[in-house]
Symmetry: C2
Subunit: 194 residues, 2 copies
């Protein structure tokens, strides 16, 4: 951020009075430009024993597989956003069963909210952001070609719950570690209920 | 939004190619300025049979009671944000038990994420945004002086669960209706698990 989006003056980075974090502040009109995490909403569409995955047609992670999900928009609810993204990316109509996971990704300032859902029919197909959409049995999931660690964790929790015969609602964090060789390692930390 | 925060040029409101919603777009540098919902995080701090409420020292709803909660910041998790807000507003140290509610407020583009928590000691007191902080038994809650409908609903679900002896994780929407006489009525719609 370089300029005030309200009046066009160059902004200053400073801690406003009574605040504790540096913010972009406009010295002319006084507007404080807060920057906050974004919510990503999506679904795990199930049909009998299989779940629906999308092969990404866009960067990042072009060509890798993911669950239908995307940024929540203003004026919609998390479920409305999940249904919209599922239609946009997979052309799929679903009904939400329940919340499944809420994952924090503090390294990219995102909160992932994923719902379990029933696919309502088999009339689906790739939207402009997908190359391919397909139903997968657990044993056929391309685990080495999953686009994002949060999506891999979401699916693993789903299949664990299904094997146990009871579905939970899971809260956790995906923490990115930068290794000395510049590789990235992702650690999953689940909230343990007290 | 009037100006591009990146280059300072006046922005245009239009639907970018491949998109479906109007966005503020910069005609000079091409930056698309997305606007998305914000996450509000907070806690229900409990001590034996009582919960901790804060009397607001700021607008909106100055002088009314609320649970400690506020906007999630970049680079933190939902739980870290809930602990921070609980300390800032109530001077209270808590440990999180579990997620309690996730409420959408589409009329203000907010998602409220509230955690049940144990108060760790009785060494609490009002921060700069609170006039007073106090522990309340259910029967003494000032129901007619609660700052926000989402906080009232969150507390009602908490006490219902406690009476039943088992705590759930609740997902729902608070929908604002504007009546012909310009009054506002708030409707709560909970997700029914399938």
């Amino acid at each position: 951020m370089n300029f005030c989006s309200h009046c066009g003056t160059p902004v200053e980075l400073r801690i406003p009075e009574g605040d504790h974090l540096p913010r972009y502040v406009c010295p002319t009109c006084g507007t404080i430009h807060y920057q906050n995490p974004k919510v990503v909403v999506g679904s795990i569409p199930q049909w009998e024993d299989r779940i629906l995955l999308c092969k990404r047609a866009i960067e990042p992670r072009h060509g890798l597989w993911t669950l239908p999900a995307g940024f929540m928009e203003n004026e919609e609810t998390t479920i409305e956003g999940a249904l919209r993204e599922t239609m946009e990316e997979a052309g799929a109509r679903v009904e939400v069963i329940d919340l499944h996971t809420m994952f924090n990704l503090p390294h990219v300032n995102q909160v992932y909210v994923m719902f379990r859902a029933n696919l309502l029919d088999l009339d689906f197909g790739p939207g402009p952001e997908s190359l391919e959409v397909a139903l997968y049995d657990e044993k056929d999931i391309p685990w080495n070609e999953i686009a994002f660690p949060v999506i891999e964790q979401t699916m693993r929790l789903f299949f664990e719950d299904r094997r146990r015969g009871t579905f939970g609602i899971h809260t956790g964090d995906i923490i990115r570690h930068l290794l000395p060789n510049n590789e990235r390692r992702y650690e999953t930390r689940m909230l343990k209920r007290r």
